[in-house]
Amino acid sequence: MSTDVFPSTLNTWIDDERRRGLSGQLAVNHYVMSAYAWPLRVYYLGTNMRWLGEPDEIIDGFFASRLAHDDFYEKWRGSGKRLRHWLINALHFYLREQLQKSRRDRTVAAPGAEAGDVTFSGDPDRETDRIAAQAFVREAMNLAAQTCRDKNLGDHWSLFLRHHVDGRDFNELAREFSVDAARAAVMSRTAQRHFHLALREIIARDGVPDDQIDAEIQLLLERIS
């Protein structure tokens, strides 16, 4: 399917990287594995197929099987789905393939998977969103931390974490970082701005158009509460 039907604001990072050729493709694959391996592992452990193998082995095998296909990302774009949902869908197919392989290799029946259907204990979409919310925040933290390191704002990033994650107030942080409270506040706010942009970038990479990012964040907040 042509990618022209999608808004130009959609997934620009993934598209731009892939246009760079092999190194860009590798960067995209690296990012997808980094961002989505943990959600996929957690999801896998909630399925009736979790006996198929160790989570790390299964997810590594899944990525190796799917991401090497040249048309993997085109098919995702054609689906109109969020990448997290597309990957879970693809994981279902992969687990079925693994079940068939297991049946060929072994003679024993698979526990709880006689029909070969992958089932999940709970609402799969809600659970996917909930886990993805945590994963997106973590990836945004990685991206923002890297940006801050690149801009020599390491202390700004540390202050941001101490304030927003550890709950320390600026007077306390001023003493810890040997600055006055006003400076501590603005340093944290500078890093916060980088985090804000990073989080919106990570959510855009999941296939969310720019004008829907706030609504997507609201959805993720609802799922995680």
Partner: protein
């Protein structure tokens, strides 16, 4: 479906560079941080975007001069020197507000916003008085957001003003 061995992936390990130092975040932390991703869509965000541009510092010096502080010898001295009385700062704030309302270009409107919020900051910093008709908490948040992208010495002015409000 074709495949390419050259892009065969391997999952990054937990100590891979990009994941350095960031553990899995719990749901509570994720919820707190997710909220920071929301766009607030306030008028002042236009000023924040303008100041974030590579020429933001030069633009500010020029915009204060032709905008809300037109005719004043040195906008820097007025805002940063501490010698401007409260009436003058209120006039600058009101001029900024009027420019925002009557502006015909984005640059003009953003210059008006700069005059408004920088005058509010100077009044807080030098006179300890909030001259804006807004909640103190809201003003403190705005001033900190602007401070994060403002050049020095304006950054200190804005952050000190914000902290004066927070500790009041």
């Amino acid at each position: 479906m074709s495949s390419s061995g050259s892009t065969h992936p391997s999952t990054p390990s937990s100590d891979d560079g990009i994941q350095e130092g960031i553990p899995v975040v719990d749901a509570g932390t994720a919820s707190t941080l997710l909220r920071l991703g929301l766009d607030q869509r306030r008028p002042v965000d236009r000023l924040i975007r303008r100041l974030s541009a590579t020429d933001g510092a030069a633009w500010l010096d020029s915009a204060l001069g032709w905008g809300p502080m037109q005719g004043m010898a040195s906008p820097r001295d007025v805002l940063l020197g501490g010698g401007a009385d409260l009436d003058l700062l209120k006039r600058i704030k009101e001029r900024g507000k009027a420019i925002v309302k009557s502006a015909v270009s984005n640059d003009e409107q953003v210059a008006g916003l700069a005059g408004y919020f920088f005058a509010v900051a100077a009044a807080l910093r030098w006179h300890g008085t909030l001259i804006a008709n807004r909640a103190p908490g809201e003003v403190a948040e705005i001033l900190l957001d602007v401070a994060a992208v403002a050049p020095q010495p304006y950054q200190d002015l804005l952050s000190q003003a914000a902290m004066a409000l927070r500790s009041a």
